[in-house]
């Protein structure tokens, strides 16, 4: 069955996110920092009356925080009752991918292994299928433990 994916660039890598996981994409406004947290927790941001926890995904992958000017867009997702905004470099398109997920091939950068699930191809380009939940759950919990 054809599935909708959001295609984006994340930490310099082309990724695809299952559209079911995505609630919206917004341009990031003010982010209030949360001190005492791991580097990838960029802070809190208000989206109307909701408060988003902003996750600096590139920091999670590369280990260095994205500078404020470079934080362009955030993917809004509702994960187990809380709203998160995940920082991405750029958002390209939402489209249907004919073949669905393909198994991972080649040697994947270890930084990506906790998050990558499969590959999809769009216009003959491979995109890494990532799950947003994994950015919230694997990252912090592994570090908190």
């Amino acid at each position: 069955m054809d599935q909708l994916y959001l295609l984006a660039t994340l930490a310099g890598t082309k990724v695809a996110v299952d559209a079911h996981e995505v609630e919206a994409v917004v341009r990031l406004a003010d982010v209030s920092p949360v001190p005492g947290m791991a580097a990838h927790v960029a802070g809190l941001s208000a989206l109307r009356s909701r408060v988003l926890t902003i996750i600096d995904v590139p920091a999670l992958i590369r280990g260095t925080a994205t500078s404020v000017e470079k934080r362009g867009y955030a993917i809004i997702a509702d994960i187990s009752g809380h709203s998160y905004g995940l920082v991405v470099d750029a958002v390209h398109d939402i489209c249907q991918v004919a073949d669905g997920g393909l198994p991972l091939r080649g040697q994947l950068d270890p930084a990506w292994t906790p998050y990558a699930r499969a590959i999809v191809e769009h216009e003959e380009q491979p995109y890494l299928v990532v799950s947003l939940v994994s950015f919230i759950e694997t990252g912090p919990l592994a570090q908190a433990a």
Partner: protein, 794 residues
């Protein structure tokens, strides 16, 4: 509708009615002639019988049918409601409750003794002359319950909580959108029509927000429903006779809060019956009435719900508590001797101490008052005791109205703002305060405040932020967490205190352990709520307290010098907050007819003793015919301060425990564990309109043109209203007081007046002055006119 839905509905309804009926049954037992209650119970069984026949629930049907028969005999007077019958009816109700529970969770239904219950009902039906069964052979303790009459059940519908939350979020969005719109409107030029339309919208949004928040509220009744039955059962078990009074069931609180309070409250009531109220024999020997008194009372006080449980039992024997503590080696004999009565009473909250001489099945199960206190404090509540050994105990629970709104302090550290629950802050000082000494040894900071040493941390250090340079002094908060000892925490500044709507933060943030939640203030910048206990943990502070008793000795010695206390009046604002005002500014307190209040422009006035007195809080319309008011005076000026209630007179520290100048408030003082805002009398009087001060020493207003229509009909009333004494026409043959002010439109007269030695205010009819030398005032320029009169008068 599917069968499943019908079944769910039936179960939910049955459970709800059962809960509501529990109190009614006991009340009915106490007064069998109460026809209303008997009817209510009969209706319940009748409804159950009707519905379960349709739903094919034969066991429900048999039970309710049997009970209905008996109740119908009672109704027709063929039978009297003796204790055995009531027990049997209660037994059937309990069974129906169990069955409903089992059906709800889909469990198997134990089927052994329905027949026994039905037998108990019908056996009695045929044997009025047979003596009571063994089960109630003991003298049936008397039970009386007073409740505010049988309550008419309001019409309700059932809604999923998620829908209400969704509505709540929608309204919050609306409020934010309104705030944004209001900001934009302010920036653009004012169109009065647009503004009034916006005002209307604004009011609607505010009303709606209030209404939606009310959907989360629940009557305290719900908290009380299980109490009468419990008291009855416990009383029987222990052979005690208890007269239970429930008051204030119509007070409303957040439904989640109700859930949180049930357990502590149940425990307190159990304790009262088990350990507090004595057996009838013992009470008789002590000269008390045989029937013990137990009273539960709920009321709203500001944004808190106060629940009081009082009994007339034996109270807490503090001597025995001390003995136990010494035996358990949690206290040295020496320290015990130094303890005040209040501190001894505090021991009841220590784990493992109880005055009960023997552990009973009722409350001696290892769950003590320490757990009760922990549970109450976890939801931001406070528990306090009023112990009268031998005469009774009153336990006062104060819990916030909702879980989500708490009073908080806004603090600044490292350039960011954080919220701190106000209840956790004991004291706030500037670091240049003479009572405070900060020492550092090997990186550890120690703050000594009035000779008590506290571990000290800076918030920036705990959170790993940079300490920004600042010109003013830093603030030191003494923070008390629910569990640990108080510690001192330094922040850049304490900026404000306000009511905060707290929402949970994401697990990611909560995992850090130093945050308790977050809040979104009106400026749209999210802010985190600090967790006092978490901060202490994160900073890894040692958990040792200074010797408490030692401190008190020292404190007593230096008390006179350290904290100067002044008498203050504790009162409740019309808006519900409890506040303090220093007694010295209050002239008297009286009930004023609300018809005397009125408004002029944006200011409120009240007519008192023939003059107009400004109303400080600007209130001018009231619900009732009279209102309590404080008449306050700063020596010369008088003002009226309408309040909801005057509570009592207490001593408050001259300088509030927490200084935070904010409007008419000077800060917050903690009196008997209650945080009270302190009114700043200076700000109060500074905010008063200047011209309406009739007491100022000044002369009359002499209106030279006494024959002129405008002067007589317009100017004179205006001046009189502003509190001036008015004389029409120059007084003939009477000396003119130098303090008098002459108002004149004609140049001739004014010259004459000037010769007499008093000052003159010239008035002119045209808005523009006739030339640069013209010192006159346009006669409709009220502000300038009043200023001229006042200025001249001085």
């Amino acid at each position: 509708m599917r069968m499943d839905d019908l079944l769910q509905e039936f179960i939910a309804e049955t459970q709800e009615t059962l809960e509501a009926l529990a109190g009614e049954v006991v009340a009915w037992e106490a007064d069998p002639s109460d026809r209303d209650r008997l009817d209510a119970i009969f209706r319940f069984f009748h409804t159950v019988k009707g519905s379960c026949g349709f739903l094919n629930l034969p066991r429900f049907e048999r039970l309710s049918h049997a009970a209905e028969d008996v109740l119908s005999d009672l109704r027709s007077g063929q039978r009297s409601p003796d204790p055995a019958t009531v027990n049997a009816v209660l037994g059937v109700m309990d069974r129906i409750g169990e069955l409903a529970e089992a059906v709800a969770i889909g469990a198997a239904l134990p089927d052994e003794n329905d027949d026994l219950l039905i037998g108990a009902l019908s056996a009695d039906a045929h044997s009025n002359s047979v003596p009571e069964t063994d089960a109630v052979a003991a003298p049936a303790p008397e039970q009386r319950v007073r409740q505010g009459g049988a309550q008419a059940v309001p019409r309700t519908i059932r809604l999923p909580l998620s829908l209400i939350d969704q509505l709540m979020n929608g309204v919050s969005d609306m409020v934010l959108a309104r705030n944004e719109l209001s900001r934009q409107l302010r920036e653009r030029s004012g169109d009065p029509e647009l503004e009034s339309a916006f005002e209307r919208l604004s009011t609607c949004v505010a009303d709606m927000r209030d209404a939606i928040s009310k959907t989360r509220m629940q009557r305290v009744d719900r908290l009380f429903t299980a109490i009468p039955r419990m008291v009855r059962d416990l009383g029987r078990e222990l052979g005690k006779r208890i007269d239970l009074t429930l008051e204030g069931g119509d007070v409303e609180m957040d439904r989640e809060m109700v859930e949180m309070v049930v357990d502590p409250l149940t425990h307190i009531v159990r304790n009262s019956i088990d350990h507090g109220i004595e057996t009838p024999e013992r009470r008789r020997a002590l000269g008390k009435p045989e029937v013990g008194m137990l009273k539960l009372e709920a009321r709203q006080s500001g944004n808190q719900i106060v629940i009081e449980v009082s009994d007339d039992g034996q109270g807490i024997d503090t001597q025995r508590l001390v003995e136990k503590a010494v035996l358990a080696e949690t206290l040295t004999r020496d320290a015990a001797n130094r303890m005040s009565e209040a501190e001894r009473l505090e021991l009841i909250f220590h784990p493992g101490l109880s005055t009960a001489q023997q552990i009973t099945a009722i409350s001696g199960r290892g769950v003590g008052m320490d757990v009760v206190r922990a549970n109450v404090e976890r939801i931001g509540g406070v528990i306090s005791l009023d112990n009268q050994p031998g005469r009774g105990l009153r336990i006062i629970l104060r819990v916030p109205l909702t879980l989500t709104i708490i009073p908080g302090l806004i603090v600044r550290a490292g350039g960011l703002h954080f919220a701190m629950p106000r209840a956790a802050v004991v004291e706030i000082l500037h670091d240049n305060n003479a009572m405070l000494r900060i020492a550092e040894v090997a990186g550890a900071k120690i703050a000594t405040i009035r000779s008590v040493r506290h571990s000290m941390v800076d918030l920036e250090d705990v959170l790993g932020m940079e300490k920004l340079p600042q010109s003013g002094p830093r603030s030191i908060m003494v923070v008390r967490s629910g569990t640990g000892v108080p510690f001192a925490m330094g922040v850049a500044a304490v900026e404000n205190h306000e009511e905060l709507v707290i929402r949970p933060a994401s697990p990611l943030i909560m995992a850090s352990g130093v945050y308790a939640g977050m809040t979104l203030p009106d400026n749209g910048k999210p802010m985190l709520l600090l967790d006092a206990a978490g901060l202490a943990n994160a900073a890894d502070l040692p958990n040792v307290a200074d010797d408490c008793a030692q401190r008190h000795i020292e404190e007593d010695e230096m008390n006179a010098a350290a904290v100067e206390m002044i008498p203050a009046l504790r009162f409740e604002e019309l808006s519900g907050e409890r506040r303090l005002i220093q007694l010295s500014v209050i002239e008297r307190v009286e009930d004023i007819d609300t018809a005397s209040f009125g408004r002029s422009g944006s200011r409120a006035f009240v007519r008192l003793d023939g003059g107009l007195v400004p109303v400080v809080n600007g209130v001018h319309s009231f619900g009732a015919a009279t209102v309590s008011a404080l008449r306050i005076r700063d020596g010369a000026r008088e003002a009226c301060y309408p309040v909801a209630a005057v509570l009592d007179i207490i001593d408050m520290p001259l300088v509030p425990d927490m200084v935070a100048m904010h409007g008419v408030l000077s800060g917050v003082s903690v009196i008997e564990g209650e945080h009270l805002e302190v009114i700043n009398p200076f700000a109060l009087f500074a905010g008063l309109p200047g011209e309406s001060v009739p007491e100022q020493a000044r002369g009359r207003c002499v209106l030279a043109d006494g024959d002129d229509g405008w002067t007589r009909e317009i100017l004179a009333p205006l001046l009189r209203q502003a509190g001036h004494e008015v004389v029409l026409g120059l007084p003939a043959g009477e000396p003119v007081d130098p303090l008098d002010v002459v108002l004149s439109s004609g140049p001739d007269l004014s010259q004459a007046a000037e010769i007499l030695g008093c000052r003159v205010v010239h008035l002119r009819a045209s808005p523009r002055p006739s030339g640069p030398q013209d010192g006159s005032i346009y006669r409709y320029d009220q502000d300038a006119l009043m200023a001229a009169i006042a200025g001249v008068g001085r």
